[in-house]
């Protein structure tokens, strides 16, 4: 069984709190970071395979964070969640390695679906 931990990166504490409560209620364990730099430090310590990244972060943005994570952990499955849809193009997010892209406000059910898909994939990959 894959470790069911999700990393949520968002600079707004209310959003981190929301996602944490929601995913914990759904049975996942949740780590949060408020910047890309903090997130990188955390995954270097212990890799986390499913991630929800805000794109418009202070300092390093979410696209660059995704790129770095995918370079070091190619099996990681990062999702973009952004309020700035026109600032970050879907194509450049895919290019950076995002699995999918959600525009805020997003229904929590959609995020749960995404998390379940991701862990399903990870399970399948492990069986190879």
């Amino acid at each position: 069984m894959t470790d069911r931990t999700i990393l949520v990166v968002d600079d707004e504490s209310m959003i981190r709190d929301l996602f944490r409560r929601f995913f914990e209620q759904a049975g996942y364990s949740v780590q949060t970071a408020e910047s890309a730099e903090e997130a990188l430090e955390m995954v270097r310590e212990t890799p986390i395979w499913v991630l929800f990244l805000d794109l418009n972060l202070p300092g390093m943005n979410g696209v660059e964070l995704c790129r770095q994570i995918r370079r070091s952990w190619p099996m990681a499955i990062p999702y973009a969640v952004t309020g700035y849809a026109s600032l970050f193009e879907l194509s450049s997010c895919r290019e950076a390695g995002f699995e999918d892209y959600f525009t805020k406000p997003v229904n929590l059910d959609d995020l749960l679906q995404a998390a379940e898909n991701a862990f399903g994939k990870l399970e399948r990959w492990k069986e190879r």
């Binding site: 707004e12 209310m14 959003i15 929301l18 996602f19 409560r21 929601f22 209620q25 309020g83 700035y84 849809a85 026109s86 600032l87 879907l90 892209y101 959600f102 525009t103 805020k104 406000p105 997003v106 229904n107 929590l108 059910d109 959609d110």
Partner: protein, 232 residues
């Protein structure tokens, strides 16, 4: 359409005014440069001006220079009238801010054609200004939407979280559901506005100007939608 005729010679001014009135212009006369300047400072001043080169108080080119140094609310097309045919004069007049020139006495057909060209230029400038204004409004709307999405995410998400814990029989359930539906609608609206890549406008009321038609403008350009909202 209003047109300023700045000409100190009464005969020429009367002749010009007669022709222009016949063509449907509303003539605003001025008999020297100073008066011309004053007429052009009034509210709803003409946007077309036929200006004589040599005038008392202020010459044509001088008037041009003064007008061009001014920040004007609406564009102005200046047709200079010259009785001199010297090439450097023409250069001087255009450099001073004249848009075109005619040698006196002007040929009527040529005058009409040049004024028509001037009107086309004014229309183009007005269209451009309108476009810039709309662009600015859109950029503003987009920025506001971006900022709104964060708090709307919280309202939507937390109401969803609360709904999970409530039984549909709970009196608060329907109220909470309304909050959720309303926040989804805000999200759809901001999403639409942000998807604007090409905007179109529709005539709101003739003369009043144009408004942005969000429904038209946010028509998807094809390709997958970034976010498919579930029907509430």
């Amino acid at each position: 359409m209003k047109i300023l005729v700045a000409e100190d010679d009464l005969t020429t001014r009367t002749l010009l005014s007669g022709v222009l009135t016949r063509w449907g212009y509303e003539v605003v006369p001025a008999d020297d440069g100073r008066q011309a300047w004053e007429r052009l400072q009034e509210p709803e001043a003409p946007q077309l001006a036929v200006v004589d080169w040599v005038m008392p108080e202020m010459s044509g080119p001088e008037l041009c220079r003064k007008l061009r140094a001014q920040e004007r609310e609406s564009p102005l097309f200046i047709l200079l009238l010259t009785s001199k045919g010297e090439p450097q004069d023409i250069v001087e007049g255009l450099e001073a801010g004249g848009d075109d020139y005619l040698t006196k006495p002007p040929d009527n057909e040529e005058l009409r054609a040049r004024l028509n060209a001037g009107r086309r230029m004014l229309e183009l400038q007005a269209a451009l200004a309108q476009k810039k204004k709309l662009q600015g409004v859109l950029e503003m709307a987009g920025a506001v939407c971006h900022e709104l999405n964060q708090p709307v995410q919280s309202v939507l998400g937390f109401s969803e979280l609360l709904l999970m814990d409530l039984s549909p029989a709970d009196p608060g359930y329907d109220l909470l559901k309304n909050i959720k539906i309303a926040s989804e609608r805000i999200g759809m609206l901001t999403g639409r506005i942000m998807k604007i890549t090409k905007y179109r406008t529709k005539e709101y009321l003739a003369g009043v100007g144009q408004i942005i038609d969000i429904n038209e403008a946010s028509e998807p350009e094809g390709g997958p939608e970034l976010l498919a909202h579930k029907e509430a």
